[in-house]
Point group: C2
Chain length 483, copies 2
Amino acid sequence: MKFFLTIYILFIVYYPSIAGWIRPHHFNIISRSIHDFHNDRCKQFHTVTQQVDHLSFVNKDTFQQRYILNTDYWQNGRPIFFYAGNEGDIDLFCDNTGFMWDIAPNFNAMIIFAEHRYYGHSLPYGNQSYSKPEYTRYLTSEQSLADYAYLIDYIRTNIKGAEQSSTIVFGGSYGGMLSAYFRMKYPHLVAGALAASAPILQMSTPCESFTRIITQDFLRESSSCVKIIRSSWHAIDRIGILPGGRERLTKLFKLCHPLKTIAELKNWLFDIFANIAVVDYPYPTSFLADLPAFPIRIFCTNVTSSIIDEINTDEEIVKRIVKGVNVFFNYTGHTECFDTGSQGTPSLGILGWSYQSCTEFPMPICSNGISDMFEIQPWNFQAFSDYCFAQWKVRPRSEWTFMEFGGKPITNFRYYSNIIFTNGNLDPWSAGGVNSTIVSSLPAILITGGAHHLDLRAANKDDPQSVIQVRQEIVKLIQKWVS
Amino acid sequence: MKFFLTIYILFIVYYPSIAGWIRPHHFNIISRSIHDFHNDRCKQFHTVTQQVDHLSFVNKDTFQQRYILNTDYWQNGRPIFFYAGNEGDIDLFCDNTGFMWDIAPNFNAMIIFAEHRYYGHSLPYGNQSYSKPEYTRYLTSEQSLADYAYLIDYIRTNIKGAEQSSTIVFGGSYGGMLSAYFRMKYPHLVAGALAASAPILQMSTPCESFTRIITQDFLRESSSCVKIIRSSWHAIDRIGILPGGRERLTKLFKLCHPLKTIAELKNWLFDIFANIAVVDYPYPTSFLADLPAFPIRIFCTNVTSSIIDEINTDEEIVKRIVKGVNVFFNYTGHTECFDTGSQGTPSLGILGWSYQSCTEFPMPICSNGISDMFEIQPWNFQAFSDYCFAQWKVRPRSEWTFMEFGGKPITNFRYYSNIIFTNGNLDPWSAGGVNSTIVSSLPAILITGGAHHLDLRAANKDDPQSVIQVRQEIVKLIQKWVS
């Protein structure tokens, strides 16, 4: 079995590479083969007709938005729990947001997961949705919030007993940003929001923060591990420039296809480091295919096993990294080779987030080689913008995002209310999160030992005490909002 | 001098006429020749570059938005008073919003009047702005609010000492709606809003309310007057169908051009009745050209003077109406003839509101002949929608307006704060206003004896006590918001 990195949940990371923006880095993955929490109820799909363009009147096209509806626990008049779908198939978010299912019975809540336009099956122009600017232009957060507003109204109108139901909006990562935005812009429709691991400030966060947190996660497990990773970049270079060097690296890393460039390998390794930091959960999960509990720990154990005082050869350094990467092999034993990039046409999820990064949400990520274990890769906004123009005929305007939703300065969020911002200290995306409570109605809660939106996942026997407590706090606040 | 009804401020009324929607009714006028309050500072124009499309990224066109800036009273760090411009040249709103100038010295406030896109000189595509759907599509309230957000940010960034200034937004009529919407959607930018005579609910208000209030205003002055108006419609019909009847009516009413249809005359009369109710101020003004104080009273005095028990002839009835209309002649003595409609290309103000009525703000107005003094004219949404499609290639979707801004039911406004809704009991537009206080942070204040946004006008020795008190209340609330 190939170890194919299916890009799915979370964000594509636009990290400046030697290869430039033409082949953007990405990561953030769900293997579709095995889910942590496979929920048959996440296949109960419905559709609703939406305007392609809510915000103007010239284009009268409509499309079918997909959503999941569950009323197993619901009683008349009781709340609606609404998940603001993000960049992918909605059933994947449903499968990985067990928290809503865990607490719905206590609230006799209806559960809705709404698929984000331009992702999954909710494609305004079918498989042509990404084919030209006239079709992509309706992929914005404002349009998706309008979809969600209409969907809530539709449910309240069409399900008897739901007319007066309070709605609580949930979301993680970009979905967490939408969750916060939805409460900000539509307080007449939603009573409160859980914005889990929402990097709502990432567009203006120092670009090195993300890689610094990855590095801290690895340092927490082993400083030797970080030392080896740090030295591996030049080791790879030195092997790569030798005659037959790329072939040697292809073989060492068990790659499915011959390496074309050294940058390709480095990008792929960066993706792996970033990913296992993002999903460094305390129990086995299938984010980034199938991972063991504490994947960084396992990675570093492999890298540093039988360590000697001095590592003398480039080959030895690289072999240790390979051993770390083998954490994937070792865990399931099924992977025969690794693929350093997605093949052929990228999935719509990749296209969508590429477009959104190129418009409202350019999220600078860089490394300086000092506060992080990577090579120096400065962020170059102009180069990124040029990439966006070449790719999509658009240029990013993140100042609009802050103008529309606030956050610059962060204190101007204080005019909003009933939003919980949770972040895990292990999560690189926490760099762009709201990490301090600005006003009491916008509590910022840190989950110690938490990776990316751990709080949204189903309860697990291996959950740290921190997330158990945070979930209790969230439930209390929701009780307050719906009462 | 022709008495030419220059359509300017306020709304075009889409009142179903016998002639259908092809020639929509309109009213709401400012004579550009004489202003109530002519303020040289309303000619201090500036411009700022705005995105034509804030809400998508494909169209990168920009345009120059015009605004008026005054810092005569301003001190560093003190508030910004921002007028959310409505459907017309911004200097006209500036000239007719003396209240902001009156109270600015007390607050050491900076004054800004922002021109609404697609009106005045703020034309995204110059004189082609209304030429095709691809150009008109950016005429929406959301886009204009985004302009205002950018303008405030621009001022705060570029005027030293304004970085931390609180902004209070003012507006009357449609500008009052925008003022409320601006506070709702951008509380991180504006601390509070005065929404004066804002018919924010007119899209869902029973259509006969507007004409009922006009009638009540006339009844308050004279029931005989209303009786004569009521009987005039058939009198006009009976004269009109006679051989040479239209010529006779043309002569009786001193029209500049021969009447083509009876409907044309009736529409024009409806406009006059609606207009003088809207601007039934207690002192002479130049809304609707030059009007005396209490124009309804003067109109009715003329109509009912030397009244006899029984009015026997159609001609006599019509002559009395003509005498009422002559209130305009009598007041300035300059008008030689009346023009029943705008000639040639309507001004951009008409075009703009026509488009906005056909998209976000369809405001049903009808008459039943019972609660009002007009003929029966039912509201026909489908006919209106068809007119819109023929005219602009769009159809109205007012459900979007309520989805976006709340108000259906009205109680869902309660999730917003710091908006004062003022309405005058004489104002037909008060029918669609917020007339009861939903929560304490959204006070609804009635101005007894007030016509359309009387409170926004400069203080006048003939102001009723009610408006004096209301202005004091407004000042107190603004003091609370900016402190």
